[in-house]
Symmetry: C2
Subunit: 201 residues, 2 copies
DNA sequence: TACTTTATTTAACAACGTTAAATTTTATAA
DNA sequence: TTATAAAATTTAACGTTGTTAAATAAAGTA
C-alpha cells in the first residue's frame, strides 16, 4: 500500500516546483512580479493550490532564503577548505561570496531585502549572524597565523562583510563602472588593503 | 487677479503635504504601508486627488528620492567645508553620511532600494554616481596632500562608499551587535584603516 | 441669476494575497 | 461493479492595491 508514499513523493516534487517557479519568475521579472497566481500557473495548478504547500507567500520566500544561505555557507566552506594559507583563505571565501551573488543575483536580493523584497528584518538576522561568525573565525585564524592581535575580531568581521556586501549591492544594481570583473578585483584588493592595515601596529 | 497665484500656492502646500505624509507613513509602518489611499486620507482628500499632484505613486517616491540625495549631498558638503585637514575631511564626510542614514532611515531605504521599496535601479544610478564622484574628489585631495598616488581613485571611492553603505545597511537592519554607537566607531575606524593601507607603498 | 469651468468625489477595473464553498477526482467497501 | 466516504482541485468571493472614468459639487464669469 505505497499509495501514501507516492503521494508524498509527488507532493515534494510539486513543492520543489513552486520554489523553482518562484525563483524563475524573480529571475526574469524581479521579486515584485512573483505572485501566487503566476506561481500556480507555472506548476499548472490553480492559485489556491499553492496554499496546500506553503501557508503563505512569505513562507515561500523564507524557504528560498534558507536554502540560499545554506548554499552560500557551503560555497564559502568549500573555499575555506581549498587552502591552508590563512590570507588566501580569506580572499577565496570573499570570492566565493562574490561569485554566489553574481551567479544568483535574485537570491542575493531575497537574502538581503533588496529589489523590492518585503520580508521582516528578523528573517535575515539569524542567517546573517552565521555568515558573520564564519568571517570572524577565518579572520581570527589569520590574525593568529600572522601574529596580529585584532582588538575587536567581530568588528573586523563586520567590516569585511560590510565591504563585501556593499560592493555586491552596488554591483548588482549595476552602479559600478567597468563591469563585474573590475568590481571583483576591487573586492580582492580592498580586503587585501584592510588586512595590510591590520597587519601593521 | 491674484486668484491663480493663490491656487498655485495652495497646490504647492498640498503637494508638499503628500510628500511629508508619505514619508511619515513610511517612518511609522515601512514603505510597503505607503498607499495612495492612506496618503489621500493624510492630506484630507480622496485618493484620486493625489493624481492631480503626482502622475503615479512611483513619482512620489522618485521626488522623495531626489530630495533625499540633495539633502545628503548638502550635509556631506557642509562636513567637507568644516575642516581643511584632508583626512579629517574624509572622516567627517563619512560621519555626515552615517548620521543622515541614522536620522533618516526610511529615506535611506528609499534611496537605495531597501525595505521593500520597488523602484527601478535606473532611479538610483544618477544620484549614486554623484555621491561617488564627491567621494572621489575628497580622496584625490587627500592623496595629493599626503603625497600618495592612488592608482585607481574611482575604485578607491567606490570601496569607501561601499564600506559605508554596507555598514549602514547592516546597521539599519539592526544586524550589528552593540548598537549604533559601536557601528559608528566601526565606520570611522575602518576608513582610517583603509587610508592607512593606501598611505603605505 | 444662468452658464462655464474647475475641483472633488464616488464607482469601477484589473490584479493582488487569501479563504470558503462548490466540484471533481480518487480511494474504499459492499 | 457500484455506492459512499475522503481527498484533491477549482471556482467564487472578500478585502486591498494602483489607477481611471464618470458623476457631482464648488467656484468663477457673464
Amino acid at each position: 500500500m505505497g499509495i501514501k508514499e507516492r503521494r508524498e513523493r509527488e507532493r515534494q516534487i510539486t513543492k520543489q516546483g513552486i520554489l523553482t517557479a518562484s525563483l524563475e519568475i524573480a529571475r526574469q521579472s524581479g521579486w515584485s512580479a512573483v505572485t501566487i497566481r503566476k506561481v500556480g500557473e507555472s506548476i499548472e495548478y490553480s492559485a489556491p493550490m499553492v496554499y496546500q504547500y506553503f501557508a503563505s507567500k512569505e513562507e515561500i520566500l523564507l524557504e528560498l532564503l534558507r536554502i540560499g544561505f545554506d548554499e552560500l555557507g557551503q560555497a564559502m566552506q568549500e573555499a575555506i577548505a581549498s587552502t591552508e594559507d590563512k590570507t588566501e583563505r580569506i580572499l577565496r571565501a570573499a570570492d566565493a561570496y562574490w561569485q554566489f551573488a553574481q551567479n544568483n543575483p535574485e537570491r542575493y536580493q531575497l537574502m538581503h531585502g533588496l529589489g523590492g523584497v518585503t520580508l521582516a528584518p528578523e528573517a535575515f538576522a539569524a542567517s546573517i549572524k552565521q555568515t558573520c561568525e564564519l568571517a570572524e573565525n577565518i579572520l581570527v585564524d589569520w590574525a593568529q597565523a600572522k601574529g596580529v592581535t585584532l582588538e575587536d575580531p567581530l568588528g573586523a568581521a563586520e567590516i569585511v562583510w560590510s565591504l563585501l556586501h556593499g560592493l555586491v549591492s552596488v554591483s548588482l544594481a549595476e552602479r559600478v563602472q567597468g563591469g563585474k570583473d573590475r568590481a571583483r578585483n576591487l573586492v580582492q584588493r580592498s580586503i587585501q588593503d584592510l588586512l595590510k592595515a591590520w597587519s601593521i601596529p
